[in-house]
Amino acid sequence: MTNAAATGTERTNIQIVSEDDVVRVEDLRLSFYTSLGVVRALNGVSFNIPRGKVLGVVGESGCGKSQTGLAIMQLTFGRIEEGRILFREFNTSEVIDITKLEKNGPEMRRIRGNHISMIFQEPMTSLNPCYTVGHQIEEAILLHQTRDKAEARRRTVDILRKVGMPNPERIADSYPHQLSGGMRQRAMIAMALSCNPTLLIADEPTTALDVTTEAQILDLMRDLQHEIGTSIMFITHNMGVVAQMCDEVAVMYLGRVIERAAVDDIFYDPKHPYTISLLRSIPRLGIARGQKLESIKGTVPDPYSTVPGCPFHPRCPAAIPGLCDTVMPEEIFIAGSQTHTVRCHLYT
């Protein structure tokens, strides 16, 4: 499956439906085989990320949002059972199916960190403490962009300046422990953007930061995204951040995308009961004071178990007995919309 010939033939057959998509994930299934049983982390995830847009992927812990990001980078320890991840670089018509590439093969290594890069949640632990920040950014540039060390150094200082570091030459020579959390996250962003990637996967990039720092980092990401034209897959659980950052949103629940729409539709015209409940359970400034927050009853089911029918039905306030608990709803377009899809029996 993974040899060069197969990849070659595969490529010519693939058609990305929209010319504007940089990534198209189709029916991705991913499992972990553990001593306690099989965890089905992703059960048929499909979405696309248009060129130059920000797709927000939201959901509670354990819904598979981080695993989707890691699968695109081929960094997951799980096994991809089925599905395709189609990727197209900047300015090429060539489409690559990432799931067909060898994890550590030359082609995957050419893409990873160069055409697709990632920012992780923990700015404290995702930088190597033994090397200077500049060295770590140069490493990516030397690997992918240029062999000239002086040139790499110049680009490193440039990108550090671009992410708003006050004294880029000095920062390049400092070690991660000498920087604050916000500065480290800026350094991570600098590293991720150093090769002008086609796609940036940001996995909860601001969750560990304070609110003022978070606002600055989001502002910075928005500016850089406009400037470079990178598409961003923004993984988060914070609906406020989604509203501020994203163009489109995919809501995930138990390894499936249950609703997908433009950000305005998600907040002003949500369809899936889970999306609606999620929005109703966040405290809103000025509205809910003195009133009870609405919560979703129950908890996310145990990952080792499988729920028959719609995975949300045990917690759903609108579940239809006899239908939702037996039949898995298909992903369908909302009547009269080309972009808004939902996986719910209420709309079939």
């Binding site: 003022t212 600055q216 609606i276 929005l279 400034l285 000025g286 509205i287 979703i296």
Partner: protein
């Protein structure tokens, strides 16, 4: 519900903190000599009335958790008074009590910790965890103890049958409920909630916040609610205090603080909240630089290097926390003069109604 909550509140003061300081020594060199102090809490004053919730907000490292722990004497204060109105003993200064005396006051003040994964002993069963305070205070034993634990677990929404299970068998939200049951065991008056929901998912967070509100109403509890999520604090608090580098810079009723802030730092903090409304995209107020190091704070007002309204006096004189009217306390030289921007109410964004439960469908008919 709002009025019911307000009725339970009185103007009597349960806890008053005056000039509280907590400095941690910095040791360095071969002899581990003290070379400086981290001034985590540097002279704060506030009070909490009976039955109210005081929110304490600020960025990481501003000393809000240290404040919570020092009040309970989990950390010993460097200076200052902590006057607690104990229902049995009357007003006592906790800062001066001995261990034995503290033990008599402790049943009335409890704490809920942030991380539900490290604040429960993994080697004890849930029954032992919740029953431990009762045993230490010799409040109950034998069957009475088991009954009380069962009642407490029921109260927080955990089935009493789970008493014999260990913490690892529970999810984050359930563990936080166990922590709440433990804090409730001795019928306390004051509960310090140290970031009780920040480790939880959104839907679970709402459940725990509702539980805290229900319990407050039922037992007339007083909360010191420490958090960094400003939307959560706005929801649960009657009054809010904002901390910056070991110092309270503003304290007022929630309404006043969020909609009519008087301190430039509060304004910047409020502007940074990511608002869940895609039609209102905001740009944050640029705060140059980083939060100062509490071991080496700047001169004058600690906020002046980052403040866009700073003038010469701010560099030399630290403004005291003063009441500018209507119990609105501010530590800023220009509190009366500045016109600051509060948060905008998210009234326009609709609260979508949930679809109603549908009639049952015969099992045979598949989805169309």
């Amino acid at each position: 519900m709002d009025t019911a909550k307000k009725n339970g509140r009185s103007d009597e003061i349960l806890l008053e903190v005056r000039g509280l300081k907590k400095h941690f020594p910095i040791h360095s060199g071969f002899l581990r000599r003290v070379t400086g102090y981290v001034k985590a809490v540097d002279g704060i004053d506030f009070y909490i009335k009976k039955g109210e919730t005081l929110g304490l907000v600020g960025e990481s490292g501003c000393g809000k958790s240290t404040t919570g722990r020092t009040i309970l004497r989990l950390l010993d204060p460097t200076a200052g008074e902590i006057i607690f109105d104990d229902p049995n003993i009357g007003k006592v200064d906790l800062a001066k009590l001995s261990r034995a005396q503290l033990k008599r006051v402790r049943p009335n003040m409890q704490i809920i910790f942030q991380d539900p994964f490290s604040s429960l002993n993994p080697r004890l069963t849930v029954g032992q965890i919740v029953g431990e305070p009762l045993e230490i205070q010799k409040a109950a034993s034998g069957q009475a103890l088991r009954d009380r634990v069962a009642e407490l677990l029921q109260e927080v929404g955990i089935r009493p049958e789970n008493m014999t299970r260990y913490p690892h068998a529970f999810s984050g939200g359930q563990r936080q409920r166990i922590g709440i049951a433990r804090a409730l065991a001795l019928n306390p008056k004051l509960i310090v909630c140290d970031e009780p929901v920040s480790a939880l998912d959104v839907s679970i967070q709402a459940q725990v916040l509702n539980l805290l509100e229900d319990l407050q109403e039922k037992y007339n509890l007083t909360y010191l609610f420490i958090a960094h999520d400003l939307s959560v604090v706005e929801h649960i608090s009657d009054r809010v205090a904002v901390m910056y580098v070991g110092y309270i810079v503003e304290m007022a009723s929630t309404e006043d603080l969020y909609y009519h802030p008087k301190h430039p730092y509060t304004e910047a903090l409020l502007a940074a909240i990511p608002k869940p409304d895609p039609r209102k995209r905001t740009r944050p107020i640029k705060l140059p630089g980083d939060v100062p190091n509490p071991a080496n704070p700047p001169s004058g007002c600690y906020f002046h290097p980052r403040c866009r309204y700073a003038e010469d006096i701010c560099k030399v004189e630290r403004p005291p926390l003063r009441d500018i009217g209507g119990e609105h306390w501010v530590a800023c030289h220009f509190a009366e003069r500045l016109q600051l921007q509060g948060v905008t109410r998210l009234n326009e964004i609709p609260l979508i109604e949930l679809p109603k439960r549908q009639a049952p469908v015969p099992a045979a008919s598949p989805a169309s």
